[in-house]
Structure formats: structure tokens, C-alpha cells
């Protein structure tokens, strides 16, 4: 008994010393560094972010060494079920009760806009990877706290939209998911199309998670537009493309899937997806570094490769941890400043730069989906058609509609 007490005392003393040693290196508020990953864990976007995003965050923490100033870094996660109100409640609890220092992922544009506002109110870093709406760095920008890491509707429009118009697709009809994301994507792509010399003939808006798209496609067919732009995502995009192939729409018109990921191509199959142009910020089969990461990731993710969003979470968490270390504290303003100073060079981005409006600027890629005969097996899906420099892909600061940066007059 005595010996046990003794060892406890020794242990306590050692922790005390350890704490003193840390105090010299850096300071954490609440004595803990806690990261929250909020995503759709079980719904239509669960493969886009979901458990894979949580895994990515954990891998980033492990690769960092698992400790900050001697304290274990904690990762917690929750399911927002694609409901902004649920997302807001969870995030509020995380900030007020669970001492969470920063939240990551936050896919679904509706969710992202809600938690971005909350993060600004509570002064916590809010990194958005999976949500696409460009409002996050424009009308609804929160430059001090909100960071938009992977892509946005403007970059999708600039890469895919521009490429399609240049290839001759100069009249467009949109099939749009009826919520914040779809509206942004339709608007931003429409602007790019018009600026590149094309015209927009119309749009039809469908509710999120629609099963049957055939009647919307008939309307698209009747519009006689050369290009049918799919301003939707995930299961909606997949069902639209399937129905388009079935109704023979692709004979006279072209499809442009404005947001499509490698996981969607996997779900669609190359027979149906072949030839589609799409834009992504990351693809696993780009170089040795990305292949090695994908291998490490899929071993822990039921054999599924990571997509750009999940790798984006890895990259953002890693960059955040480095910034906390460099700042010597988890104070929001200090960390945000450090995050903006250091360039981002990791498996996700090369020479990425986090701008003051919260936009992380990095290169985007234009891919074309391979023919079944070109593919060497599952997940071998893309041919690289072009790399678009970050400055061209993303909106320039001069065009910003964010009140803090917008040009007056």
C-alpha cells in the first residue's frame, strides 16, 4: 500500500515537473488542445467526409506526434446529419462545455454558413473543407476565424466551366440542388460562362436527395442547350448522370458535372462516367507522395481511397497544429496569424497560401474520366487534362465581396 502511494506521489511530482517544463514552451487555454471534426457521418455525404475525415484528422495528429507542449491532442467528432440546427447545437456545446479549440470539415454549405457564424461569435478557428459555397469568403465572410481550405464554387466554375465553354459548349442549362450550395454553384458558373462568351438558357431546381431525375432531364433536353451543368453533388449528381445516359440526353448534349469526386466516379462506374470533365484539388494517383498517403489511408478506411476533402482535412489539421506550435499558444488570433504566414507544403498542396479573407489558394486540376479500357482497375479513373494555378482558379482579392475587403464605390 505504502509503495503504491509512493509511486503515485512520484508520478504526481513528475507530472508537475512536466507541466512546468511545458509552461516554458507554450501555453494552452483550458490546459488542453482539442479538435472537433463535424461532418455527415451517416447520410448522403458520408463518403465525401464522414468517418474518413475523422480518420484523416487523427492521422494528422499522429503524424504530428500526438502531443502539443506535452499534452495529448484530442480529436472528437460528431454527426450533423446535414442539418444546420443540429450542427449549431453540437458546435455550441463543443465550444462552451467541451473546450474545443478549433473545428474542421463542416461539409454541407448550409451547415458551413451556420457554424462559420458561430465560430466568429465565439472566436474559434473554423476550418471548412467539404462545403463549397463561395459565400464563405464573400458575403458571409468571417476573416478572423473562418478558413475555407479545399475548393469553392468559384474554383469549380473557373476550372470545369471555363474548360467546357472553351471546348465549344457555349449554351448552358443548369440542374441545381435547391439549397445554398447549388445556388452558389449555379450563380458562379453562370458568371464564368457569360464572361467566357457563352449564355445561360435556364435552370431547374430540384430538392436535395432526389431519387428520380428523369423529369428534370426532360426539361433540360427541351431547353436545347449544348451543355447541361449539374450544380449538385454526391448521390444527386450520380442519379442525374445515370438518368441522362438512360434517356439518351448525352447524344445531343453534353453533361458538365460541376462537383464530382473520385468516390462518385467509383459509385457510377466507368461505363456511365467515361469522358466526363471534372475538377478536383487532389487525386491519389498523382505522385509517389500521394500514392503513399492513399495506401496508408485506405488500410484504415475499409479499402477506400481518400478524396480531396478528406486529404484536405489532413492538411488543414496538420497546418493548424504547426501554427499552434509556432505561436506558442492556442490563442485564436495568434494561431490564425501564423497559419497565414507559413506556406502550405504537404501531401495536399504545394505552395498553398492562406489569404487574409480565409481562402486557402492552391492549384486545381482538370481531369477527364477514363474509358473502361484505359483503367487498370478500381480507383484508376482519371486522366489529367490540365493544372490551373491557384491564382486563376480562385477568386482574386480584388473581386472579393467580403465587406472587410470589398473595394468601396
Amino acid at each position: 500500500m505504502k509503495r503504491k502511494l509512493m509511486s503515485i506521489a512520484v508520478a504526481a511530482a513528475m507530472t508537475g515537473f512536466a507541466a512546468m517544463a511545458q509552461a516554458q514552451q507554450g501555453k494552452l487555454s483550458d490546459d488542453v488542445l482539442k479538435i472537433g471534426v463535424l461532418s455527415d457521418m451517416s447520410g448522403v455525404y458520408a463518403d465525401f467526409g464522414g468517418p474518413g475525415a475523422v480518420l484523416a484528422a487523427k492521422m494528422a495528429v499522429e503524424d504530428f506526434g500526438g502531443k502539443m507542449f506535452g499534452k495529448t491532442i484530442e480529436v472528437i467528432s460528431a454527426d450533423h446529419q446535414n442539418k444546420p440546427d443540429v450542427a449549431k447545437n453540437v458546435t455550441q456545446q463543443w465550444f462552451d462545455r467541451d473546450k474545443v479549440d478549433a473545428t474542421f470539415e463542416n461539409l454541407n454549405s448550409g451547415v458551413a454558413l451556420a457554424v462559420s457564424a458561430l465560430g466568429a461569435e465565439k472566436n474559434r478557428i473554423t476550418v471548412i473543407t467539404g462545403a463549397a459555397t463561395s459565400r464563405l469568403t464573400n458575403e458571409d465572410c468571417k476573416p478572423g476565424t473562418t478558413i475555407h481550405w479545399v475548393y469553392d464554387t468559384i474554383s469549380l466554375a473557373n476550372v470545369t466551366g471555363k474548360a467546357v465553354v472553351k471546348a465549344g459548349g457555349d449554351s448552358w442549362f443548369f440542374l441545381t440542388a435547391d439549397y445554398a450550395f447549388g445556388h452558389s454553384l449555379e450563380k458562379d458558373t453562370g458568371e464564368v460562362v457569360k464572361a467566357t462568351g457563352g449564355k445561360v438558357l435556364g435552370a431547374v431546381r430540384h430538392p436535395l436527395a432526389t431519387t428520380d431525375f428523369s423529369s428534370f432531364l426532360l426539361q433540360a433536353q427541351a431547353s436545347k442547350a449544348k451543355v447541361v451543368g449539374l450544380a449538385n453533388a454526391g448521390g444527386d449528381t450520380i442519379n442525374s448522370i445515370k438518368a441522362a445516359a438512360e434517356f439518351g440526353l448525352t447524344k445531343n448534349q453534353n453533361l458538365a458535372a460541376l462537383l464530382m469526386l473520385v468516390t462518385d466516379v467509383h459509385a457510377l462506374g466507368l461505363n456511365t462516367a467515361q469522358g466526363l470533365y471534372l475538377s478536383e484539388g487532389w487525386y491519389w494517383d498523382t505522385n509517389d507522395e500521394t500514392r503513399a498517403f492513399a495506401k496508408r489511408f485506405e488500410a484504415r478506411n475499409n479499402g477506400k481511397k481518400p478524396n480531396m476533402n478528406q486529404v484536405g482535412v489532413y492538411s488543414a489539421v496538420a497546418h493548424y497544429l504547426k501554427a499552434v506550435q509556432a505561436a506558442g499558444s492556442d490563442d485564436t488570433a495568434a494561431v490564425r496569424k501564423k497559419m497565414g504566414e507559413a506556406p502550405i507544403n504537404d501531401v495536399f498542396a504545394k505552395n498553398g497560401k492562406l489569404r487574409e479573407d480565409g481562402r486557402m489558394v492552391h492549384d486545381m486540376y482538370l481531369f477527364q474520366v477514363k474509358k473502361p479500357s484505359e483503367s487498370k482497375g478500381p480507383w484508376d479513373y482519371y486522366n489529367l487534362k490540365g493544372t490551373v494555378k491557384g491564382e486563376e482558379a480562385f477568386q482574386s482579392m480584388a473581386a472579393s465581396r467580403c465587406p472587410q475587403f470589398a473595394k468601396k464605390g
Binding site: 451517416s42 448522403v44 463518403d47 423529369s215 438512360e246 439518351g248 459509385a267
Partner: protein, 295 residues
């Protein structure tokens, strides 16, 4: 060109045809639900999940065993029916004497378990299932190009619906079934094995869901959530048609498909809501549903 409320008549016909195709899926699914509710008094919330399992079975048969569409049209529903038998024998049979709520909770839980299990192994974004070779390409109907496969869906599901209605309403077996649910003790006294009949009815009902799943696999996404997105509409169909009414579920299924198709032309944003608006109106005017009997 002639127009109706600003929509060319050709386009309207096209939309109505598509509405009919969707209506067939609704009819097929709500038929199974109606049979189960009518005979067993169970509100089978697992129906959507079993529809999803049917689609996944069909995908597994193709990808793991190389079994083509036609055989899985037979095999997958049988597989789903076997799951149904297990569910009925091990769980549902204890609930017949209790309030509806217990059956509803149990089947809802089962639906979540099935969906979760498939999501765990196959992810949420779904699996591809290519159209069978014979169905590639459309038929020209004059006012629209109807894909051959959709035409097949209409024909096949109308046949199945009619056959089911005929068996239950017009044959001796159907008479036993209906009598067995009215007064099981008396029917048992005539030497008919009522528990077996109930088990087989449940198996048949969920088998229909499995069949709908196989038919849906080539056109919709084979994904764990495919059931939950359609089941709510299907429940609305059953409620509008009158719980347990077989003819009601078939007619209402087709009708709602058509109404949904029209909504997609005139006000697409409301296309997922219109069914529930109709449900609310019907419940206010006729609480037992259009074809239901007041008890």
C-alpha cells in the same frame, strides 16, 4: 404547339409518362406494405431497408457470382423473403398481440441496423449496376424518347400488382388469408396452419420490396440510403390509399407518381413535398384513406 399553362403538351405527356414509371415503383412498394399491414397488422418500417437489400443482393449476385439481371430478378426477392421469414419467426411474431407502436419501433430499428450495416461495408456513395444489354436505348413514343428499361418497369410492375390483387381478392388462398386475419382461431379450427400462412405473407410482402429493389438497381443508385429516401413517400401512399387496402395502394401509387411528375414541371422545388400535402388533405377529408374502410 398547343400549350397547357405555359407548358407544351408534348413535354407534359413526357412528364406524365415518367410520373407513371415512378408511380409503378411506389405501387410495387406500397403493395407489399399494404399486404403486410392488412394481414399482419404490422406497420413494416423495415420495408425501405429491405428494398435496399434487394438492390444490393442483385448487385452482389452480379459482382460476386456473375449472376445476370434476369436470374437476380428471381433470386434476390427470394433472398429478401428468407430474411423476412427470419425476422417474422424470431421477432415479429411476439408482437401481434401488442399495440401497433411496438411493431413500428421494432421494424424501424431493424431498418436502421440494416442501413448501418450496409453503410459500414459499402459506404454511402453507392455501387454501379449497369443496364442489361437488351434494355439499352430508348423507344420513340412520338412525344418523347422512353428508355426501354422504364417501359419494362411499367409492364412488369403492373403485372405483379395485378397478380397480387387477383390472388388475394379472387382466389381460395386469398380467401384463407383474409379469413385468417379476421378470425385466426376459427380458421385454425378448420385445419389451416395460420402461423405458417402469416409467415409466408410477410415473406411475400418483403419479397415484393426486394423485387422493387432489383428493378430499381439499374436506374437508381444502389446505396444504403436508397430505401429511406423512398419509404416515406411510400408510407404516404399507403396512408392516402387507406391502410391495408391493396387496390388502394396500387391506384394511389400510380396516381401520386403522376401528380409528382406534374409538380416537377410546374413547380419543381415542391416535388418532394406535394405528396405530403395531398396526404394531409386526404386525412382531413377521409381519415381512413381513399379506399380504406372506417372501423
Amino acid at each position: 404547339m398547343t400549350e397547357i399553362f405555359g407548358v407544351p403538351i408534348q413535354a407534359l405527356f413526357g412528364q406524365l409518362t415518367i410520373g407513371l414509371v415512378n408511380g409503378c415503383f411506389y405501387a410495387l412498394l406500397s403493395l407489399g406494405l399494404a399486404v403486410i399491414f392488412g394481414m399482419l397488422n404490422i406497420v413494416n418500417f423495415a420495408h425501405g431497408a429491405l428494398y435496399m437489400v434487394g438492390a444490393f443482393f442483385s448487385w452482389m449476385l452480379l459482382n460476386y457470382a456473375g449472376v445476370n439481371y434476369w436470374f437476380s430478378l428471381l433470386l434476390a426477392p427470394i433472398g429478401v423473403a428468407i430474411i423476412g421469414i427470419v425476422i417474422e419467426r424470431t421477432m415479429l411474431k411476439w408482437l401481434y398481440q401488442l399495440d401497433h407502436l411496438y411493431g413500428l419501433l421494432l421494424t424501424f430499428g431493424l431498418a436502421l441496423v440494416l442501413e448501418g450495416a450496409f453503410r459500414h461495408y459499402y459506404g454511402s456513395s453507392g455501387q454501379p449496376y449497369d443496364l442489361p444489354e437488351v434494355f439499352r436505348g430508348p423507344i420513340d413514343l412520338g412525344f418523347m424518347m422512353l428508355p426501354k428499361y422504364r417501359a419494362w418497369v411499367v409492364i412488369a410492375s403492373l403485372l405483379v400488382c395485378f397478380a397480387t390483387w387477383y390472388v388475394i381478392e379472387k382466389t381460395k388462398l386469398g380467401a384463407y388469408l383474409r379469413a385468417g386475419t379476421e378470425n385466426p382461431k376459427l380458421v385454425q379450427a378448420f385445419g389451416i396452419n395460420v402461423p405458417l400462412m402469416v409467415t409466408l405473407t410477410y415473406a411475400f410482402g418483403v419479397g415484393l420490396a426486394g423485387l422493387a429493389g432489383v428493378m430499381a438497381a439499374p436506374v437508381y443508385l444502389v446505396a444504403p440510403t436508397m430505401g429511406s429516401s423512398i419509404i416515406i413517400v411510400v408510407f404516404a401512399v399507403v396512408v392516402i390509399g387507406g391502410m391495408g387496402s391493396i387496390l388502394g395502394s396500387i391506384v394511389t401509387g400510380l396516381m401520386l407518381g403522376l401528380i409528382e411528375g406534374m409538380t416537377k414541371v410546374y413547380y419543381p422545388e415542391a416535388s418532394t413535398t406535394v405528396v405530403f400535402v395531398i396526404m394531409a388533405i386526404v386525412l382531413m377529408v377521409r381519415p381512413a384513406g381513399l379506399f380504406g374502410k372506417e372501423k
